[in-house]
């Protein structure tokens, strides 16, 4: 029996929506009890028949202890582009970022669209990674939007959700059938709300900045159009649906209405859309090129408010490794995406330091809500939950140096950025997988 006692912890409990100082006991990889401050441990252990020598004591020194982050939508570039990110490097990056569960994207080459390729992913992930890996599978074969994948077999093989990632299924007949079929199996569908016609070829959000830079732009309305379409299909099919990224103010009323009407819909947002805006692209800095493109400041603020109010449920890193070659190109030609596993928490803490969110709400969006949406029992600080934990100092300042990242690709928009708060240790089922030196 392995027993760990986390003492002097500032416990961040998203389920109860509060934080408190206390101690956390984990036994055999699960949280067993939470004790208040000033507990007399010797007597407590005696009454529970635990010998004090067998207990590993981790003094948290009044730092924050929170449920480990559950990150939906991480791109690990196996198979296809292992030089950009492998399961090993992604796992190390996740551990260093306090992410204890990676929910991986199927937009690899080839796409993860068969039980066989999913098994490959599971095998690679289990062999290489220090953190939990849960794979998602493509919703249509080759992510081409024509034929649905073997959703049943893929679920049996361990797919936790189905998504064509940033490929929008343009044929609504195909999409509605896939949604209907998925509903019968209770499968979660994750989609990218974006009108494909309007956004074709665009790499920035339309507006003054796009016009000044002369870059092909998409109206923020394209997101709302995509979401409206998907909501109509949900009304028709009753499927379980998650919008990967809602990033514009214009899409929020539609989302609110759909939730009010009782549709089984949730929404996420990437950390980049919460902490950066279109102006950060500045002189064509391609590390800021993400999909959908960064938005206006008003959109960023509206989305933060929606997150605080619970309209947007989940924050994701949308970790997308790209090598230097695919980024060192003219802006239009450069690849989209940014690595974010290791910057997710420090960047998210900007929202706390700016007074937008409190820590329990933040960890609701980072851990509890994604876990619930996927039907996982992690993301909580409650007895019975896995001891997937992140210990962090929310206040320590540092300047991010991308050379220090564990990811194989270092395409972060935060290089050189001043950040506040960093991970001290990460535990998966009670086992330390990362400790800051």
């Amino acid at each position: 029996m392995s027993v760990q006692l986390f003492t002097n912890a500032r416990l961040i409990d998203p389920e109860a929506g509060r934080e408190s100082y206390g101690n956390l006991l984990a036994t055999d990889g699960r949280i067993t009890e939470i004790f208040p401050e000033h507990t007399e441990f010797e007597q407590m252990f005696r009454t529970r028949n635990i010998s004090l020598e067998a207990v590993e004591i981790i003094d948290c020194e009044n730092r924050c202890l929170a449920p480990g982050i559950v990150d939906i939508g991480v791109k690990v570039c196996e198979p296809g582009d292992r030089h950009k990110e492998s399961y090993r490097s992604a796992g190390l990056a996740a551990a260093a970022g306090g992410v204890t569960t990676l929910v991986t994207r199927p937009d690899t080459s080839p796409a993860i669209d068969t039980p066989e390729s999913l098994e490959f992913v599971t095998r690679r992930a289990n062999a290489a990674g220090p953190v939990n890996v849960l794979p998602m599978a493509a919703l249509t074969k080759g992510r081409q939007g024509r034929e649905m994948t073997e959703i049943g077999f893929l679920m049996d093989a361990g797919a936790v959700a189905f998504t064509d990632c940033d490929h929008v299924i343009t044929n609504t007949k195909v999409f509605s059938r896939a949604l209907t079929y998925a509903r019968s199996l209770g499968a979660l569908i994750i989609a990218h709300p974006q009108d494909p016609g309007l956004s074709d070829g665009a790499c920035v959000t339309s507006g003054k900045f796009a016009s000044l830079r002369g870059l092909p732009a998409v109206s923020p309305m394209a997101e709302r159009m995509g979401l409206d379409r998907d909501i109509a299909l949900l009304e028709m099919t009753g499927a379980r649906y998650h919008a990967d990224q809602i990033t514009t103010a214009r899409a929020l009323p539609a989302l609110a209405r759909a939730k009010r009407n009782g549709l089984d819909i949730t929404a996420g947002v990437s950390i980049h859309h919460l902490t950066l805006n279109e102006l950060d692209v500045a002189d064509y800095r391609t590390f800021f090129k993400v999909k959908p493109p960064l938005r206006a400041e008003e959109d960023r603020i509206a989305v933060i408010e929606a997150l605080r109010d619970g309209l947007i449920d989940i924050i994701s890193s949308m970790h997308t490794p790209q090598d230097e070659e695919s980024k060192r190109l003219p802006y239009e030609e450069a690849a989209s995406g940014a690595v974010a596993l290791e910057t997710l928490l420090p960047a998210a803490l900007r929202l706390v330091h700016a007074g937008h969110l409190d820590l329990p709400t933040l960890f609701g969006a980072l851990a509890l809500n994604p876990a619930r949406r996927l039907g996982l029992d992690c993301g909580r600080l409650s007895p019975g939950a896995p001891a997937d934990l992140v210990l962090f100092d929310p206040d320590v300042p540092f300047v991010l140096d991308r050379a220090m990242l564990h990811s194989k690709s270092r395409n972060t928009p935060f290089d050189g950025a001043r950040m506040q708060g960093r991970v001290l240790a990460t535990f998966v089922a009670g086992t330390p997988v990362y400790r800051r030196a």
């Binding site: 339309s206 796009a210 016009s211 000044l212 002369g214 064509y284 060192r328």
Partner: protein, 315 residues
């Protein structure tokens, strides 16, 4: 002399004094270019490479003549035909050329921002000869010189820029330049050819040519960039010409001494009436071409001066 820039990437980075400095020096070169012996040696010993990743005849010729008249060794590289086709990236091309120690790189590229990117990787001075829909600074400068010479000033003028604003780097550079020099700018064109939130650039936007042209001093026509259009922006060229093409009737609404400009190449009968374009009393289109050489000579001289001053072997 206030001009202290290393590159000429856009009008955005220039202050009004920089613009005036270039234009003043250009006047000297206009005089020189009208003489029989058109040679100066301010770029003597320097190497100028013209890298055009996009077809160009007039701009490339203008830069070539400008460099040669200043005594530089000028080389033209037609980049569509070269290593780009073999998969070499822009940066690798830049580094390769950089190793040959050029002093001035003149670059045109179909993608916005590509010239900025290239300028970060080389040791020489870079002149933007047009990048995507972003900027074409020497065009705006030559337009400014043309206006200043025709109107006697470059401020408090009503300037109408007409046509395909959305796809035009010429329009962006001109909006920035004319705005910095405190002119009133009107943009006239169908709304499908207007960039988003263009009204926030301190311009007035019209979709009616007749209203827009009232009392303007300068009418700047733009080429309809059919090659950049990936969808239906206008119903047809004849409807476009009817509504937005410049002819004598529409021009009559402008000031009687209004000048007509066009960056070329013109689509006669699409955006401008052929006879009007050739009317020497109104059209300054040929002057623009002449000013182009002078402005490019001035810009290259200023950049070369700063480049040489920055080199460790400079005395």
């Amino acid at each position: 002399m206030s001009f202290d820039h290393r590159h000429l990437l856009g009008i955005e980075q220039l202050a009004p004094d920089d613009i005036t400095a270039i234009l003043d020096l250009s006047e000297d070169y206009v005089t020189l270019n009208r003489q029989t012996a058109k040679h100066s040696d301010v770029l003597g010993g320097l190497t100028q490479i013209n890298m055009f990743f996009e077809n160009s005849t007039r701009t490339q010729a203008s830069f070539e003549i400008a460099g040669k008249r200043l005594g530089a060794d000028v080389m033209n590289m037609a980049m569509q035909a070269s290593s780009i086709k073999k998969g070499e990236t822009l940066i690798d091309t830049a580094l390769t050329l950089n190793a040959m120690h050029p002093d001035l790189l003149v670059v045109r590229h179909p993608h916005s921002g590509a010239v900025d990117l290239l300028a970060q990787k080389v040791n020489c001075a870079v002149l933007n000869a047009g990048d995507g829909r972003h900027e074409h600074p020497t065009q705006a400068l030559l337009d400014a010189l043309t206006i200043r010479r025709a109107k006697g000033r470059l401020h408090r003028l009503n300037v109408a820029i007409c046509g395909d604003i959305a796809h035009s780097r010429v329009a962006r550079s001109n909006i920035l330049l004319l705005g910095k020099m405190e002119n009133r700018i009107r943009l006239i064109g169908p709304p499908t050819l207007m960039p988003s939130q263009i009204d926030q650039f301190g311009v007035e936007v019209y979709d009616d040519m007749k209203q827009g042209l009232a009392d303007v001093d300068v009418v700047m026509m733009l080429r309809l960039q059919r090659e950049r259009m990936d969808g239906g922006f206008i119903p047809s060229e004849r409807e476009y010409y009817h509504r937005f093409g410049l002819d004598a009737e529409k021009l009559a609404l402008a000031r009687p001494d209004a000048i007509v400009m066009h960056p070329g190449p013109m689509n006669r009968g699409v955006e401008i009436d052929g006879t009007l374009a050739d009317d020497i009393n109104r059209s300054v289109i040929q002057d623009q071409v002449e000013m182009g050489v002078a402005v490019r000579m001035a810009a290259m001289e200023l950049l070369a001066r700063n480049l040489l001053a920055s080199r460790p072997d400079a005395a």
